[in-house]
């Protein structure tokens, strides 16, 4: 990209409740040792009964605004990517817009593309900024992902989100390039008006997650003539703790490159928030000149890849005005499966 467009600020929100994989395994008569090893996850975040994608998005957006001096009235677009919007019809974005004081002169829409709606929101903001239609854009990826009781997804489906304020001025990270890869691959879905998603089991791996992430990543690196070793950090979508390690290896990235952004083992899969929280964890520690490679994945299916370089502005960036990803991960309270069931509305009656 000719213009310098990138990340002006970012903010993350993770609900405080956690459930251990072992607490879930116990209920279903499974040995958690194998689950923890198989999924590389020990615990996941759980939204409180008063939290949903709207509240998570607002908290993340407010944290992003606390770290910069941008007047919310200068935000020209808000896109919230999620697959668990609180309303089937009625945007989450307007709630966010109102709560951060950005309304009414702006574009707002909600996005849905399974787990990759967050990067879709970023790409659209970039395009609007590049075309000078807006000055700042706010892209949010957040989920309170659902999992049917007893399903394998129950160990990973968690809650959290991140907000990225994008623009041209005082950017802390330059988004050098982006590329997307999409096909019709039904590996995971939730039908209209259904409470829980369904998935293709092992089909979600090779022909879905791996194929799309590998193609998007390779094609972007080919186009911009970079190699895995050119990057200081890499972040891939984290449906569990294992897939991102495996896909990184296949692409030629080292574990050291992905480790700082690998948050799934302690957080679970926050779906549209996953790779954005991973990227945020990297931004929490990144220095000027650091180069970051990011690829999201959304079932259905598609991947968005990004090539990002940290700028000098990160030195003056007021990271401390909002909690880091590590701080959010440490602020936790464990709940048992009964409380989890109550919070996630698994206990219902006529």
């Amino acid at each position: 990209m000719e213009d310098n467009i990138g990340i002006v600020s970012y903010g993350v929100y993770i609900p405080r409740y956690r459930i251990k994989a072992s607490s879930i395994a116990k209920v279903w008569g499974k040995d958690s040792k194998y689950i923890e090893k198989g999924l590389n996850i020990t615990e996941k975040s759980v939204p409180g009964p008063d939290e949903d994608v709207a509240t998570i998005s607002v908290e993340a957006a407010r944290y992003a605004l606390k770290r910069c001096k941008v007047d919310p009235q200068e935000i020209g677009a808000i896109y919230v990517g999620s697959e668990s919007h609180p309303y089937a019809v009625k945007p989450t974005g307007t709630i966010v817009g109102e709560a951060i004081g950005a309304t009414p002169d702006l574009m707002i829409a909600d996005y849905e593309f399974a787990c990759k709606a967050g990067t879709a929101a970023i790409q659209n903001c970039i395009a609007l900024i590049k075309s000078n239609m807006i000055k700042y854009g706010l892209a949010i990826g957040a989920d309170t992902s659902q999992a049917a009781p007893g399903d394998a997804l129950e160990y990973t489906a968690s809650a959290g989100g991140a907000a990225f304020l994008l623009g041209k001025e005082k950017i802390i990270a330059n988004i050098n390039a982006t590329y997307s890869f999409a096909t019709d691959t039904p590996d995971f879905w939730r039908r209209e008006a259904r409470k829980y998603p369904a998935h293709g089991g092992r089909f979600t791996g090779e022909p879905a997650y791996f194929k799309h992430i590998i193609n998007a990543s390779k094609n972007l690196m080919e186009r911009i003539k970079t190699k895995p070793e050119d990057y200081d950090y890499a972040v891939f979508h984290q449906p569990n703790g294992k897939f991102p390690i495996s896909v990184a290896k296949k692409l030629g990235f080292t574990y050291e490159q992905i480790e700082p952004g690998l948050i799934c083992p302690l957080l679970g899969n926050t779906y549209s928030g996953s790779y954005l929280i991973g990227l945020s964890a990297v931004l929490d520690i990144a220095k000027p000149g650091d180069r970051i490679f990011v690829t999201s994945y959304g079932s259905g299916a598609g991947s968005d890849s990004f090539d990002i370089t940290i700028t000098e502005n990160i030195k003056k960036f007021r990271r401390k005005n909002a909690p880091t990803v590590r701080e959010l991960l440490e602020n936790k309270e464990y709940i048992d499966y009964g409380t989890y069931a109550k919070f996630r509305d698994l206990l219902y009656w006529e």
């Binding site: 009964p49 008063d50 509240t55 609180p86």
Partner: protein, 139 residues
Amino acid sequence: MTTHYHLVSKFWREIPHRYNLIGTRCGECKTVYFPPRNVCPRCRRSSIGKMEKYKLKGKGKIYTYTIIHVAPETFEDEIPYIIAIVKLDEGPMVTSQIVDCNPDKIKIGMPVEIAFRKIQEDGDTGAIYYGYKFRPIKR
């Protein structure tokens, strides 16, 4: 069939106050009010037409608190939960739930800041009402 019976207007008109703590300030004596007032109880007639919108910063201290063990249906999922009167830095006090705080840890004088949460839902089919709650300031 619908299970909700309030029109959303009742909630919608309070959105600025409940999302962003927009109160009022008397143009005469400069006293800040939250919840907003149409007339300043001190200046009365001379405040008419001079009450201006005023955004509170959302920081304050616990003035008093209680822990709710018996709650209306809409709040039952959250039992036990903390209700407190928070004295905001600008002066006004506000009644709010305190979240991200173990009920054993709450005390008078504890510094808190605004959080954004779901307050109520109008049944299964009605609107979701969002607004302020407060949480302890960690750092």
